[in-house]
């Protein structure tokens, strides 16, 4: 008896493996091949390391640092896409939850001596808790109003960090957060950080992928498309929204945890600025409509492009960066994901929409 047997069916693939049966619906959902994706991701920095560095005048360490930042963007973007689909609302406040997670990790480790292993669940729960508290707004406020409430949240936290600088440390933040990795060799450290961050992204991606392909993912897609239809066909929209918003908020907060333990300090005002939001927003938008895989591609693209423009264009670097991104918005109507996915009409890809009413 063979260990692995593939049984293609119309619309789905039945896999017999290790005496168990898995079905993958290819039919209405996404094109997928996580293994190839993962290997590409892991090999990408190596490829770039050997081929790209020097070409644009980037050095390996700078590139690796940029890619760690790409992973941070992906860590925020992946759950954010899930959140947008599951709540049918576009949030402009993901960086609010990043700051929540970062401050939780920093304050707990500084004041109570928590280790990174303890602050990780704490950050997640804090993010989830605040997400739960705020989740009613996913039900009551619609369209642009939701965008705007979430846009105001980071401003409020930003004001708070200055107002209560005794707690949050204002622009100097909270120093003395224990490092996640410290081997003594800084280059090795950077590399391990890269792989830790990519591992986190992959774990998130794995969960997100599972959710998106589950019955819940499908129902989230329906909510994203038409809430009233979802309700009239027995889908408990409020429940799915609250759960999605809560858990994804927690997941976004984990990115803050990573930032705090990666930099050894957490400075909220840095991350609560609109400029950070714009990067996150462009990451999810250019990623492609609701496609979590595209988010990772665009996070890598944007972070690398930013490094290239920074070293090549001097004072004009930001202008060049945003002009390129703007052009991409024009030529990639379905984002990076659109370049990659099979162009078949029967595929369903949830589209992120901000409804006007």
């Amino acid at each position: 008896m063979s260990i692995l047997k593939l049984e293609p069916r119309r619309g789905r693939m039945i896999i017999h493996a290790f005496g168990r049966k898995y079905d993958w619906i290819i039919e209405p959902r996404y094109w997928r091949n996580p293994i190839i994706g993962v290997i590409t991701l892991l090999a990408l920095p190596l490829l770039m390391y050997f081929f790209a560095t020097g070409v644009f005048g980037i050095r390996p360490v700078a590139l690796l640092s940029a890619l760690i930042f790409a992973n941070i963007l992906a860590m925020i973007g992946t759950p954010l896409v899930l959140q947008i689909i599951g709540t049918g609302r576009v949030s402009f406040g993901p960086h609010f939850f990043v700051a929540v997670g970062g401050y939780t990790a920093a304050l707990l480790s500084k004041n109570y001596g928590f280790s990174p292993a303890l602050t990780l669940p704490a950050s997640f729960f804090m993010g989830a808790l605040i997400g739960l508290g705020l989740s009613p707004i996913t039900i009551i406020s619609r369209g642009i109003y939701f965008v705007l409430i979430t846009l105001l949240l980071p401003f409020i936290l930003w004001e708070l960090t200055y107002w209560r600088s005794d707690v949050f440390g204002a622009e100097t933040g909270i120093p003395g957060v224990p490092l996640l990795i410290f081997t003594g060799d800084v280059v090795l450290d950077i590399m391990i950080y890269y792989y830790v961050s990519i591992a986190m992204v992959l774990i998130l991606l794995f969960f997100t992928d599972r959710v998106m392909r589950s019955r819940y993912g499908f129902m989230m897609g329906v909510i994203n498309e038409d809430e009233e239809v979802a309700l009239s066909y027995g889908i408990d929209v409020a429940k799915i929204k609250v759960i999605t918003f809560t858990l994804t908020s927690g997941a976004i907060a984990v990115a803050g945890w990573f930032l705090a333990h990666y930099q050894g300090s957490f400075t909220g005002p840095v991350w609560l600025q609109p400029s950070f939001l714009i990067l996150i927003l462009l990451t999810t938008t250019l990623g492609g409509k609701g496609a979590v895989y595209g988010v990772i591609a665009s996070a890598y693209f944007i972070a690398t492009l930013r490094e290239v423009t920074r070293t090549q264009f001097g004072e004009m670097s930001v202008v060049v960066l945003f002009i390129i991104l703007l052009i991409l918005l024009y030529i990639l109507p379905e984002g990076f994901w659109g370049l990659y996915r099979k162009r078949r009409y029967r595929e369903y890809v949830p589209s992120i929409r901000i409804r006007r009413a």
Binding site: R213, V222, E225, Y233, G234
Partner: protein
Amino acid sequence: MLEVSNLTKRFGGVIAVNEVSFEVEKGEIIGLIGPNGAGKSTLVNLISGFYLPDSGKIRFLGEDITKKKMHERAKMGIARTFQNPRLISNMTAIMNVMYAVLGSERGSKLSLVEAYGEAAYYLDIFDMLKKRDVLVADLPIYELRLLELARALALKPKILLIDEAMAGLNPAEAERVSKLINRIREEFDLTIIWIEHVLKIIMRSVERILVMHYGKLIADDTPEKVVRMPEVVEAYIGEEVV
């Protein structure tokens, strides 16, 4: 089975549904007619839970569902179709049936694959299986109507509220739809409330007719009797003048 008593709904100063009461027995097929703006769709929206009534009560299977949420009512077996087909146009035909399967009471135990299989069954009933992978945006109105019915059926409803199944169809198509409705009623042991603007077909298909005018229920009888009622005739004359 369904018991509506003194149901009232206001929008601003307009009373859309005014003190409406009626009962539906199991297995009945009821037509709900009335001129434009008579409050028919509002009544359907009240029963399905889209709006909450200002006063009055709705009982279903002996249970008070007046305050129940829309998705809970759907799970209990109240399915509806929409006046303008309201399907998710980014999804294929079969996906539009799948979520109704998942939303039904037994759906919480189904995997996506099982739901897919069931959805295929319901599509087949309406002879739509071959169109399962077509995006809804690319379907003609007739097939949208069928798809709406298939989706409603996938919820395994006890009562089906049909909000205009004929609008936009040519007479032959309308005839086929009407036949299909009667067929599924027998096959699935359904109770049906059928709102229609076109009177001809409905008169032949239903056993009992409710007539609404300006939010009020003005008649509740067999088709033959209803057409002779002076109030009804008057209401429809008014309509035709407009």
